[in-house]
Structures are given as structure tokens and as C-alpha cells.
């Protein structure tokens, strides 16, 4: 009860100085920490990314280094995960393959992100007939059997890494657009936005300063959940022979090689398979955790 006026001043000034969103983020982080599965996902992901990033420093073998006389051998002291039919070290190939898979995952997702967020934000913000038309287009595209088109695209135009990114990104942006549009629409109707408009701020500024920070939450969540879908799609295409081409390898490609020889050399299938599965697990758990943490209204209670 005996707080001096200056203390009170300090407290209130401090409270005013804090930007509005911090408590939401801190709050979310606390919630996330409590979710064991999500934390496992985060840690695993970080470790995997580091391992793949520093692959050249970690293994003594080149990823294309053959040892034809050795052939395929099961895990041993010299080769922790065994070798393939060319005598190439599997651990090395998994790490390098992980680079490609993760890179495709992140880049293609970024494509989807940029396109989807822009599209959805514009539609949600502008509203009215423009919004209706834009979402109609999304509905039509949503109805298309994309898998069929992607197979066709890759067969027709050959296996081009850039095309791969575009094709995959083109499938995933739709969901992002829908989500962003919904969120933006909700925010658009808030009073503070109306106030900003009447104050004369340009739509671009409003979107930048008010809208996007507030949709950041769901965007992060769905981005984290899109990455595994993208990685799956790339693996699927590579498995069919339409995605990543040798000499590059990705986990999908390693798995397809492993399937061919799975009876004699099962480790060639199992280890890449585990790498892919666990990484997808991690991403999905993390994404779910983020969703629960940032959007307390959904599920749980």
C-alpha cells in the first residue's frame, strides 16, 4: 500500500512501453514448453538441420565416393549405417539427402507462403466482389486433381529443380490463402483498423502494421504444417522418378533405391525411411503444438 508515486509512475510507464503483442508471444512460448511432443519436435528438428548443414564436416566420406569392391554392407564400425551397392556410405548420403529434402521443403513452402499470404491478405482486406472472385478462383483450383497435374508437368517439362519448387508451391498456396483471408477478414472488421483507415493510413501500411502482425500466429502454424506436406510431395515425386535427379539425392530418392533392394539390403530402406518419418513427425508435432499454443480457442479444453 505504501508505493511511492515514482514507483507507480515506473510501473505504468513500463506497461505503456511494452508493445502490445509481447505477452501473447511469451504466453504462447510458455504453453509450448509444456507440450512435450512439440518440444521433442523442435529439438529433433534443430538437431537434424544442424547435422545436415554441417554434413561435410561430420563425415569422412564424400557422398558420391564409391567403393565398388566393397559393395553393399550392413552397418559396421567404419560405416555406421552401412553402404549401398556402389559402396557409398549411407550415413553420408542420408545427411546430404536431408539437405536437399529440407531445402526443398523450406523453399517450396516459402513460395507457397509468399503467394498465399499476399493473395489471401488482399482478398480478405479488400472484401466485397473482388474477394468473392478471388476466392472463387481458389475454389476452382482446389477442385483440380493436382497430383495428376504435377505428374504431368514433371513428365512433360523434364525434371527441373526450379519447376519442382514452383509445382509444389503451386499446390500448397491455396490452403494458406484461404486461412489468411479468413483471418484478415476478421481483423479487418476490428475497430482499430477502422480507426486507422479513417486516420488516412494507406491500405499497404495498415496491412503491414496491423494486419500481418496479427495473422502471424496462424501463418506460422500453417507454415510449419505445410513443410512436411511439401517434403512428402517431393519424396513422392522422386520416388516415381520425377523429382530430384541423380547425382543429387533426397530422402525420397534414397527410399526408392532402398525399395529396389529391400530384401537383400534392408538397411538401405529402413534408415532413410526412419529419417524422413521422424523429421515429418517432428514438424507435425511442432506445428500442432504451435497451433495449440498460439490459438487457445482451438481443441484441447
Amino acid at each position: 500500500m505504501s508505493q511511492s508515486a515514482s514507483d507507480l509512475d515506473q510501473i505504468t510507464t513500463a506497461a505503456d512501453a511494452m508493445p502490445r503483442g509481447v505477452s501473447l508471444w511469451q504466453d504462447a512460448w510458455v504453453r509450448l514448453r509444456k507440450n512435450k511432443l512439440a518440444m521433442f519436435g523442435l529439438v529433433f528438428l534443430a538437431v537434424m538441420i544442424l547435422l545436415c548443414l554441417f554434413a561435410p564436416l561430420l563425415t569422412p566420406y564424400g557422398y558420391e565416393e564409391q567403393n565398388l569392391r566393397l559393395g553393399a554392407i550392413p552397418p559396421s564400425a567404419a560405416h555406421w549405417l552401412g553402404t549401398d551397392t556402389f559402396g557409398r556410405d549411407l550415413l553420408t548420403r542420408i545427411l546430404y539427402g536431408g539437405r536437399v529434402s529440407l531445402m526443398v521443403g523450406f523453399i517450396a513452402t516459402s513460395v507457397a507462403l509468399v503467394v498465399g499470404v499476399t493473395y489471401g491478405a488482399i482478398a480478405g482486406y479488400v472484401g466485397g466482389r473482388v474477394d468473392a472472385m478471388m476466392m472463387r478462383l481458389v475454389d476452382i483450383l482446389y477442385a483440380l486433381p493436382f497430383m495428376i497435374f504435377i505428374v504431368l508437368l514433371m513428365v512433360v517439362f523434364g525434371r527441373n529443380l526450379l519447376l519442382l519448387f514452383l509445382a509444389i508451391g503451386a499446390v500448397e498456396w491455396l490452403t494458406m490463402a484461404r486461412i489468411v483471408r479468413g483471418q484478415v477478414q476478421g481483423i479487418r472488421q476490428q475497430e482499430y483498423v477502422e480507426a486507422a483507415i479513417s486516420l488516412g493510413l494507406s491500405p499497404a501500411a495498415i496491412i503491414r502494421k496491423h494486419v500481418i502482425p496479427n495473422v502471424l500466429g496462424p501463418i506460422i502454424v500453417y507454415t510449419t504444417l505445410t513443410i512436411p506436406n511439401v517434403m512428402l510431395l517431393e519424396a513422392f515425386l522422386s520416388f516415381l522418378g520425377l523429382g530430384i535427379q541423380p547425382p543429387m539425392s533426397s530422402w525420397g530418392l534414397l527410399i526408392s533405391y532402398g525399395v529396389e533392394t529391400m530384401e537383400e539390403y534392408p538397411w538401405l530402406l529402413i534408415f532413410p525411411g526412419i529419417s524422413l518419418t521422424l523429421t515429418l513427425f517432428a514438424l507435425n508435432f511442432l506445428g500442432d503444438g504451435l497451433r495449440d499454443a498460439l490459438d487457445p480457442k482451438a481443441s484441447r479444453d
Binding site: 558420391e64 569392391r69 553393399a72 551397392t85 556402389f86 535427379q245 541423380p246 547425382p247 529396389e260 533392394t261
Partner: protein, 554 residues
């Protein structure tokens, strides 16, 4: 809540039990040991044959692939056949034949009891009409060139003449056919056992449309009428093709099988499984990595024999740096073929230093170079790229398939290690890859060639100047002279082979192609199969095959 939970859990447990029961029951299937398909087939006289890809069609004048070949050769029969072991010509529909002294006129005497599956007799007119169909331009038959040795056949196929009467095929009487060649072709009889020269049933084809219309359903189950030892009874796409013994066949007494079922087995691993589960008597291929295992444990079922096929890379000699013969030779001399064959291909092919496979009906190709990385480096330096410096990056093209990839990857490494040359591997699927070759739109490309008949010409004729199958830009006048004029006119086989050696030496010295290996065919064959001796054309006449259950064998 507990009430509900235990209730639901109980249901859940019951569900799991039910599902497991279903799985176990369906897997057990009854309790008594069932006969495998192969065992049942041995009893019934039905051969189960792994055939590779799904056949695209069964019209002998239209099809172009090996899987189609197998089925078509069971359903139809040509003038002559091939001896199962020596591959020399034996009588087919033609009982006997006469060759004139200048080897330009062949007269075939057809047997009078040869019948189509609907009972109609097979006549000389059938052959004349069928060959006319093969040569009809509008049909677009891709093997029409097999009959080009016949007088005016090529002109008819190009549309230069339109009256087939001018072509050198004459029906002397219902069972005598006379053929005139524009120049002697020593291998002509061999060609006649190729499916493009088979007869087709005129009435059937005409019932469904014009003879040049390839889209009619005449070659389907229920419609197809052939003249071979078997007739078509079932064809379910991606499932199987079944042919059954034809009682109308003139030599039906020799035929011991009652039926043959052909299975599309594109996936080698699955085919292997099928064989081990007792579902196939014969596989089209053996999985590479399993070969050592089979050879160690069950050598009697493994059949690996030389095949009339050559696997090589070809150079686009119109594009630098491959317009320089020294570069080409350097690349060729850096390949350790023995290592490649042994480790990458598990020893199931033979290293090759030429184009034509050895022992092609007695022909052995010359060897003009060796594995010599040092000499290769010297050559490369001479060409202006010492230690690979300044060598432009180039693409090695191959069509998407595991074995091609393995070889390409290994060779890429060899070139890098020995010559310090970076190779970019590019794989495309077949259609694109073929088109790029046609348009000379490549640097170095994989090539494979399977001979159509047992004579070196089937390989060597590819590389004449501007040959449709050349695709490398190679051209040499002496080579053309030998292949187009001198050799076909030389009837003495030994002398002819000497000429071929000379031509082949020219080709390899120019190194327009980079030989790698010659094929062997690899099959798994169930011990109950008899009458299927291995041969270089991998050709089996189903009329000579029989099945003997293993327990009955001594």
C-alpha cells in the same frame, strides 16, 4: 464416463480381434497345403511365363517389342522357323525351298495341311497379301524395311509405285511362292522368321476395316485368327494373356503344352517374388543383386547366356569436343570394363571392345584398343586438354532405368578420377531420350541395340552414312561400300566375315561409339521346363516346350 469408456474399449478390443482373425484366416486359406501355380501347371500342361512389359498389341505387322514378339510367335508361324539350338532355318509353313544359284530367286513350297485357327488353309496368296500389307505406306509399319531386299519392295513402301504386282513376290500356284531379290541377301531366310514377315488372315482383317488401319480390334481376344501352334483365348490388360493349343496346327502332335499364360512383369522384384512363390516357370529377368545368391544356392535354375545385343555409348561427332577422335578414344580407353562388369553388373554381361557381339553365328569382332588410362591421358593432352583442363562440361544422356544409372554413375567416376573430366548425368524417359537422339541433341548418350536376325549386318548397317539409326554423324565411304555393296554380294560366309571385320575396324578406330558390354540374357527357369535350350537370340519356340513335374525326373 467409466461406463462409456469401458464400453468403447471393449468394442475396440473386439474390433482388433476381428481384424486380426480376418488377416490370419485369409492368409491361411484353408488348412490343406495348396498346390502352387507352377505345380498345378505341370499337371495341366500350362506354362506360366514372365513376359516383361504388357504387350501393346498382337498385330505382327505393327508391334515392335520383345514381349509382343514372344506372344506373336506362339500365335503365328512364318515360312521358316529357327532350330531351337543352332538357330539355322527349319521348315515352317514352307515345307521346303529352292534357292537359285545366283541367290536371287527363292521358291518356297508350302505344305498343304497348314491351317488358320478357323480352319482355312494357309496359302501362298496369304503370304503375298500379308507382305503387301506390311509394305503398304499408309499402315506405317516400322519393320517394313526387313522386306526391302525384295525387288521393288522399297519403292512400293515409299509410294513410288502403287501396283504391288511389280514387287518381286509371285504366287505360282496356291502352295508355291516365288520371291525375287534385287541383290543377294545371305540373311534373307533368317528374316523370314521375324514377325514382320508373318502371314495374317485377310478375311479377319478386312472384316474389321481397311488393311492399313492400325486401330481396328482384329488382333484382340475373340477376333484374332492366327496360324501358329497356339490360339488366343484370353487377354486382360495388366493381368495376363492366355493362349491355348490349337488343334488346327499342322504339327499339333509335336506340341506338348496345353496352354501358355504370359504375365506382364515390369517390376523385377515382384517378378522374382512370383517365381519364388511358385507362380512362374520362367522369368524375363533376374534381379541384379540376387544373382550371386541364386548362383550359390540354386545354380540349376539360373540361366545366363550371351545375347545378340550390344550396350554402348554413342558420341555426337558433330559437336565439340566430340568431333575430335582423340577425345573420343581417350574416353573409351579410360573405362575399366572388367571392373564395371564385375562389380556394377555382377558379372552378368561381357566386356566389349566392338559393336557386334562375339559368336554371332560364328562371327568374332576385332579388338583394336585396350584399357589404358595413361595412353588416354596422353591423347587428351594432345587434343588440347592436359589433365582435363578446359574440358567443357557435357551431358551424358540415358533413359531412366536403374541399370543404366548404375553404369553411368560408375563411368562418371572413372572419367573424373582418371581424366579429371566432369560429367553431368541426365536421365529422361524413353520417348524424350529417343527424340533427343534423333535430333542429334545430345553430347554423349547411352545406346542399346538388339539384333533382329543372326547376322552382323543387323548391327553394322546402322552406321552407314545418314542411316536412320546412325544418330552420331559418323560417315565413312569405305564403310558404306562394304556394308551396302560388297558384303551382301559375297556368298561365301568366311569371306563375308572378313569384310565385316574390316568395316568394324573402321568404325571402332573412329570411335563414333564407345563399346561397353554385350548383353547376356538372364532368366530363372523352373527345373520342370524342358525343350527350351538357351540360344543367342533368346528365342523360344513354344511348340517344342514341355513340362515334367520335378518328382517324375530321375
Amino acid at each position: 464416463m467409466t461406463d462409456l469408456k469401458s464400453g468403447l474399449l471393449a468394442h475396440f478390443r473386439a474390433g482388433i480381434l476381428a481384424v486380426s482373425a480376418v488377416i490370419l484366416l485369409s492368409a491361411c486359406g484353408g488348412g490343406e497345403p495348396q498346390l502352387t501355380r507352377v505345380e498345378q501347371g505341370n499337371i495341366d500342361g500350362v506354362l506360366h511365363y514372365g513376359n516383361g512389359a504388357e504387350p501393346k498389341g498382337l498385330d505382327p505387322h505393327i508391334v515392335t517389342g520383345v514381349p509382343e514378339n514372344h506372344i506373336v510367335s506362339a500365335l503365328f508361324e512364318g515360312l521358316v522357323g529357327k532350330h531351337p539350338e543352332t538357330l539355322e532355318p527349319i521348315p515352317g509353313v514352307a515345307e521346303s525351298w529352292e534357292i537359285s544359284p545366283d541367290a536371287r530367286r527363292y521358291t518356297f513350297y508350302l505344305r498343304e495341311d497348314a491351317r488358320w485357327h478357323n480352319g482355312d488353309p494357309v496359302t501362298a496368296e496369304d503370304f503375298r497379301w500379308s507382305w503387301m500389307r506390311l509394305l503398304t505406306p499408309a499402315l506405317g509399319a516400322q519393320y517394313n524395311y526387313h522386306l526391302f531386299p525384295i525387288v521393288n519392295a522399297e519403292a512400293y513402301a515409299n509410294g513410288e509405285i502403287t501396283d504391288f504386282a511389280e514387287v518381286g513376290v509371285t504366287v505360282l500356284d496356291p502352295f508355291t511362292l516365288q520371291v525375287d531379290l534385287r541383290e543377294p541377301a545371305a540373311y534373307f531366310l533368317q528374316i523370314l522368321d521375324h514377325y514382320s514377315a508373318y502371314p495374317v488372315h485377310r478375311a479377319t482383317i478386312e472384316a474389321f476395316g481397311d488393311l492399313s488401319d492400325r486401330l481396328t480390334p482384329w488382333a484382340r481376344e475373340g477376333n484374332l485368327v492366327g496360324n501358329g501352334p497356339f490360339r488366343l483365348t484370353e487377354w486382360q490388360i495388366n493381368s495376363h494373356v492366355r493362349v491355348e493349343k490349337a488343334e488346327t496346327y499342322w504339327d499339333a502332335d509335336t506340341v506338348q503344352l496345353n496352354a501358355v499364360v504370359f504375365y506382364p512383369t515390369e517390376n523385377l522384384v515382384t517378378e522374382d517374388r512370383m517365381f519364388r512363390d511358385g507362380q512362374l516357370h520362367f522369368t524375363a529377368e533376374i534381379v541384379l543383386d540376387k544373382i550371386p545368391v541364386y548362383q550359390a544356392e540354386q545354380p540349376e535354375i539360373v540361366r545366363i547366356v550371351p545375347w545378340l545385343g550390344s550396350y554402348y555409348y554413342m558420341f555426337n561427332t558433330t559437336r565439340p569436343p566430340f568431333d575430335d577422335v582423340r577425345v573420343r578414344k581417350a574416353l573409351a580407353m579410360t573405362l575399366d570394363r572388367d571392373l564395371l562388369v564385375e562389380s556394377v553388373m555382377q558379372g552378368i554381361v561381357d566386356p566389349s571392345y566392338a559393336l557386334v557381339p562375339p559368336d554371332t553365328l560364328g562371327y568374332f569382332p576385332p579388338k583394336t584398343f585396350e584399357y589404358d588410362p595413361d595412353a588416354a591421358r596422353a591423347l587428351l593432352a594432345e587434343a588440347g586438354y592436359p589433365d582435363g583442363e578446359g574440358f567443357p562440361e557435357f551431358e551424358l544422356l540415358y533413359n531412366t532405368q536403374e541399370s543404366h544409372r548404375r553404369i553411368a554413375v560408375a563411368i562418371q567416376q572413372m572419367w573424373m578420377r582418371e581424366l579429371n573430366i566432369p560429367t553431368q548425368l541426365t536421365n529422361q524417359e524413353r520417348q524424350v531420350y529417343l527424340e533427343n537422339q534423333d535430333n542429334l541433341n545430345y553430347d554423349v548418350s547411352r545406346r542399346g541395340w538388339i539384333g533382329d536376325y543372326v547376322d552382323p549386318t543387323t548391327f553394322l548397317e546402322m552406321y552407314v552414312t545418314d542411316g536412320g539409326n546412325n544418330k552420331t554423324g559418323f560417315s565413312d565411304p569405305r564403310y558404306d561400300e562394304i556394308i551396302l555393296r560388297e558384303a551382301p554380294a559375297t556368298l561365301d560366309r568366311d569371306k563375308r566375315y572378313e569384310l565385316y571385320k574390316e568395316a568394324e575396324t573402321i568404325l571402332i578406330e573412329a570411335m563414333a561409339i564407345l563399346p561397353i558390354y554385350t548383353y547376356k540374357t538372364k532368366h530363372l527357369v523352373d527345373p520342370s521346363v524342358k525343350g527350351m535350350p538357351p540360344n543367342i537370340m533368346d528365342h523360344y519356340n513354344f511348340k517344342f516346350i514341355s513340362l515334367e513335374p520335378v518328382s517324375d525326373q530321375g
